[in-house]
């Protein structure tokens, strides 16, 4: 009897081994295909996620909300301290608000005097965060707006305060936002008031680094970092955050967006930047890139303590 079984084993095992070999070949083949033709496989991935994740949405939402409630409940324990903090913050804010109102009036007057048309490209679609990447190595979230809502790859995404990331991967009903903290994220930024250009590169930590600054002496912790609009991918002038110096003496950015609470995100409709191809046509017809020029305006001395 046992011998019979042994015989059957003799047939089964090589076939099994062969099948596993084929399986491994397919998997490696898929990996190599991904490496060669990444956009197509990534599109496949976006479609797959588009199929799988919304089917979980009915459960994702209540569980997320419950966890959020528990976290909020824990924060009630610190209610008194929070209240005090908020009061002092409020007092500061009122002063700021006053200043902002005055500036707004002044700005409106000046705009009126100059007959400026507000750039029409700052319209947005708001999406709700459905899921995150599920992996500690990728910093991204999934929004519930997709190609159906006219979302396109590369558009900027903000929360109420600052830039969060960019769209990368659009399915029919969902789209993925690669956050600025992801190690694949690179963004050209301008540091105000010195007007220095830098590349903001994510490294999977909460504070992305600023690289390739021409004169780092001009940059001080606390300076504002905004998107520069170079390359035409992002609209210029979106707030990213503040400069800070990390313990390793590298310049990093404290992001303005609240990464702990990403619920609703705005996807900014960006229309194709007009490219200058011909030196004779340097003056653009509709003033499309005019905003990029005034980003260089404030290059006065800002070095004294």
């Amino acid at each position: 009897m046992a011998r019979d079984r042994g015989n059957a084993d003799d047939y089964v095992r090589p076939i099994r081994r062969l099948l596993i070999g084929i399986l491994l070949l397919c998997l490696t083949g898929l990996f190599i295909l991904w490496r060669i033709d990444s956009p197509r496989v990534e599109q496949l991935r976006a479609n797959l996620v588009d199929k799988v994740v919304p089917s979980m949405e009915w459960a994702l939402v209540p569980v997320t909300k419950t966890v959020g409630m528990i976290e909020n409940f824990q924060s009630y324990q610190r209610l008194y301290e929070q209240n005090q903090e908020l009061r002092s913050e409020l007092r500061q804010m009122q002063a700021w608000k006053e200043a902002a109102l005055q500036l707004e009036q002044k700005n409106a007057k000046l705009l009126d005097l100059n007959n400026v048309r507000i750039d029409p490209r700052y319209t947005y679609v708001t999406g709700v965060v459905m899921a995150d990447s599920g992996s500690p190595f990728r910093q991204s979230v999934l929004l519930n707006v997709g190609a159906r809502d006219g979302i396109r790859d590369g558009w900027a995404t903000m929360d109420g305060m600052g830039l969060v990331g960019r769209i990368s991967g659009v399915g029919k009903n969902t789209s993925r936002v690669i956050l600025l903290t992801d190690s694949n994220s690179r963004l050209s930024a301008t540091i105000q008031p010195s007007g220095q250009r830098a590349i903001l590169s994510g490294d999977n930590s909460g504070r992305p680094t600023l690289d390739f600054i021409e004169t780092p002496e001009l940059v001080r912790p606390g300076d504002r970092v905004i998107s520069s609009g170079d390359g035409g991918v992002f609209p210029p002038g979106l707030l990213i955050g503040q400069v800070a110096k990390g313990p390793d003496r590298r310049l990093r950015v404290i992001l303005a967006a609240d990464y702990e609470r990403l619920d609703y995100l705005r996807v900014l409709r960006t229309h194709e930047g007009e490219a200058i191809t011909d030196p004779g046509a340097l003056i653009l017809p509709e003033g499309a890139e005019a905003a990029a020029i005034d980003a260089l305006g404030g290059t006065e001395e800002a070095t004294d303590g």
Partner: protein, 179 residues
């Protein structure tokens, strides 16, 4: 009339599928958006390794591979690579299952840890050869450590909650596992 053993095997296979779905679901919850968290364990892989060293037929490779591939796609890993390595690791352990029957747990754990670290190393090596951007080494190591640490917990859960023990010699005789 369905043979009770077949029924049990099939239900454990379904159970594995459900477990994978549940784990994926919890990883996807947008609770911990942001960085600086301890990278969570790869529970699907750890459970597969626990079960394959106890009841190899509960984790058939043609169930395991599609699950890992889908996880690759959902968790934004390079598709195919990690699942291929997982299949290799699973089959390696499946071949060692008869010898592991009378291993001490510590030895078994060390073996599994070795396989997992080798997989992580190969993964990084292949990604480096193909010049794919990688995350920091520290984070990868932390992730592997948490997977390795989750292994005894899953063993204990399988043992106490599901009553999954290693194959004893008498059972092996009965089931035709003699090799």
């Amino acid at each position: 009339m369905v043979d009770p053993r077949t029924l049990r095997t099939q239900s454990f296979r379904v159970g594995f599928l459900l477990f994978a779905g549940l784990v994926t679901f919890f990883y996807l919850l947008p609770v911990q958006v942001g960085t600086g968290h301890w990278p969570g364990p790869d529970l699907i892989l750890a459970l597969a390794f626990v079960w394959v060293l106890r009841r190899p037929n509960y984790v058939p490779v043609f169930l395991f591979a599609p699950i890992m591939l889908l996880a690759d796609f959902i968790f934004l890993r390079p598709p195919g690579l990690w699942s291929a390595l997982s299949v290799l690791g699973l089959e390696f352990l499946r071949n060692r299952e008869p010898t592991s029957r009378d291993m001490a747990f510590a030895v078994e754990w060390a073996m599994v840890a070795g396989v997992m670290l080798a997989m992580a190393f190969l993964n990084r090596l292949v990604l480096a050869i193909f010049m794919v951007d990688q995350t920091s080494l520290g984070l990868t190591i932390l992730g592997q450590i948490s997977t390795i640490l989750s292994y005894p917990i899953l063993v204990a859960l399988s043992y106490y909650a599901l009553g999954m023990r290693k194959i004893t010699p008498s059972e092996a005789d009965e089931m035709g596992y003699v090799r």
